[in-house]
């Protein structure tokens, strides 16, 4: 079901499983799109892209046309994805070096980038590279490029941390990955538009098992409804 056909304000009765979240993200990706799936949860989206959709996956380490994991006996240590997990190449694939790969991303050629997140702000700011813990060893990889480069960057995450704190906030408290770059959040309990998609206001698109009012209380935020 595409974003265009999904009735506005549709509501499931229970929170989504991880697989259901991935399927929900996949349903919004138009056939023929070029897509980058960030490491972590977003990699699951690949399993839900319909066969024959002509969706092509980009991996930052220099491959367009990435296929699924190979059988254990077909692992090639020189054919891996951004998470350094073995993958395969599909017919029509191409390889390129790292500057060309990030030019492809930064230049707005990738249609959709799906990212994990620690925090997202209502204005679309993203924090997904640093926990901010003192003494932690930092690492950023391609996160900052992926956040700002694609035509549309969306986040796939649980809406609350393990200890129950909201990950959608008025302002991120963790170190930022990008400013105003996230358009939509796909979470276990709601799909919410933010940032450039909604003029910096958080807009509830769908919810699963929670009422609009409950979500607002959970987040400590007011959420607009999708205008019809």
């Amino acid at each position: 079901m595409s974003a265009e056909t999904m009735p506005t304000g549709a509501r499931g009765t229970t929170p989504l499983s991880t697989a259901q979240m991935a399927a929900r993200v996949a349903a919004d990706i138009r056939p023929g799109s070029y897509v980058n799936l960030g490491i972590g949860l977003p990699t699951l989206v690949a399993d839900h892209l319909p066969a024959g959709s002509g969706i092509t996956l980009h991996t930052e380490n220099g491959l367009l046309g990435m296929g699924p994991s190979p059988g254990a006996d077909l692992v090639d240590p020189e054919l891996i994805n951004a998470g350094k997990v073995p993958v395969t190449e599909l017919a029509g694939a191409s390889y390129f070096h790292q500057a060309d790969s990030f030019a492809m991303m930064r230049g707005g050629h990738i249609d959709v980038c799906v990212l994990g997140a620690f925090q997202v702000s209502t204005s679309g700011d993203l924090a997904n590279w640093s926990t901010g813990r003192p003494g932690a060893v930092p690492a950023v990889g391609g996160a900052m490029d992926l956040a700002v480069g694609a035509k549309r960057s969306v986040v796939m995450m649980r809406l609350l941390t393990k200890d129950g704190r909201p990950k959608l906030l008025r302002e991120c408290t963790l170190p930022l990955t990008g400013v105003g770059c996230v358009s939509r959040i796909y979470s276990d309990v709601a799909v919410i538009d933010v940032g450039p998609a909604s003029d910096g206001e958080a807009v509830l698109v769908e919810s699963y098992g929670v009422a609009h009012r409950e979500l607002e209380e959970m987040l400590g935020l007011s959420l607009a409804s999708v205008s019809v």
């Binding site: 990699t43 054919l79 700011d125 997904n128 930092p138 990889g141 900052m144």
Partner: protein
């Protein structure tokens, strides 16, 4: 066509001075020039500045270079991995400096050096801690950060095949940083599975023209392709 064809990896890295800046290709294990790094370990140069996407996995060659205290500073996008214990330990102990650079900026800075450019404005990193103190500018409505070229004294690269003119082709995602690092170093040393006669590589398919290559060392292909198994999972969930 002045490419050197040393017999051993050690011959190829002879003469690296203490304090050199060394670019090391690879994205995790793929494309890591293991035998060249091992030769650098044996060669003995220290106080190095290393430019590399990662900071070593497990007990691999780059990890050992760090563990042995030979790296003063690393310029890197993703040092922290599940098995980057040698880097982590050195970093926490303050024995290694880290310049953390977003991966696309790292790649573009290397390319800029090789292309003789003086720097560029990029949207990547704007408004984040990694852009603190950097010059910014709004270009066509997009806020951007100024990034400078990044060059090296030596690049260690792993390619698939070379011809005797130094032309290179790579293999799958092991291509990654090799082609750009080869352009940005004063001296570029490449390990390959085999060195072919001049004319063996179709000129339309050359990825790195021989002009960027100073020395090519053949390393037995079985060794090269039996790399480490994948060692990192997603850093977040």
């Amino acid at each position: 066509m002045t490419v050197q064809l040393p017999q051993t990896a050690l011959d190829a890295v002879g003469g690296v001075a203490d304090g050199s800046t060394v670019m090391i290709g690879g994205f995790g294990p793929a494309g890591q020039p293991v035998e060249l790094i091992e030769a650098l370990l044996e060669q003995g140069a220290g106080d190095l500045v290393v430019v590399s996407n990662n900071a070593g996995n497990g007990e691999d060659a780059l990890a050992r270079l760090i563990h042995r205290g030979r790296v003063r500073r690393i310029v890197c996008s993703f040092p922290r991995q599940l098995d980057s214990w040698h880097f982590d330990e050195a970093y926490r102990a303050g024995r290694i400096e880290l310049e953390l650079v977003p991966q696309g900026n790292l790649a573009e800075r290397i390319r800029a050096a090789g292309a003789g450019l003086g720097g560029f404005f990029t949207p990547t990193g704007y408004g984040t801690p990694l852009a603190e103190g950097k010059e910014t500018r709004v270009v066509d409505g997009v806020p951007m950060v100024f990034e400078s070229p990044l060059r090296a004294d030596l690049a260690l690269v792993k390619a698939f095949r070379a011809d005797a003119a130094g032309n290179l082709v790579y293999r799958k995602t092991a291509r990654n940083f090799g082609p750009i690092m080869a352009t940005a170093a004063h001296r570029t040393v490449v390990q390959v599975t085999e060195v072919l006669p001049i004319g063996s590589i179709d000129p339309e398919t050359v990825v790195t023209p021989g002009i960027y290559v100073d020395a090519v060392v053949p390393i037995d292909s079985a060794t090269v392709l039996a790399g480490a198994q994948p060692s990192e999972r997603g850093a977040m969930s």
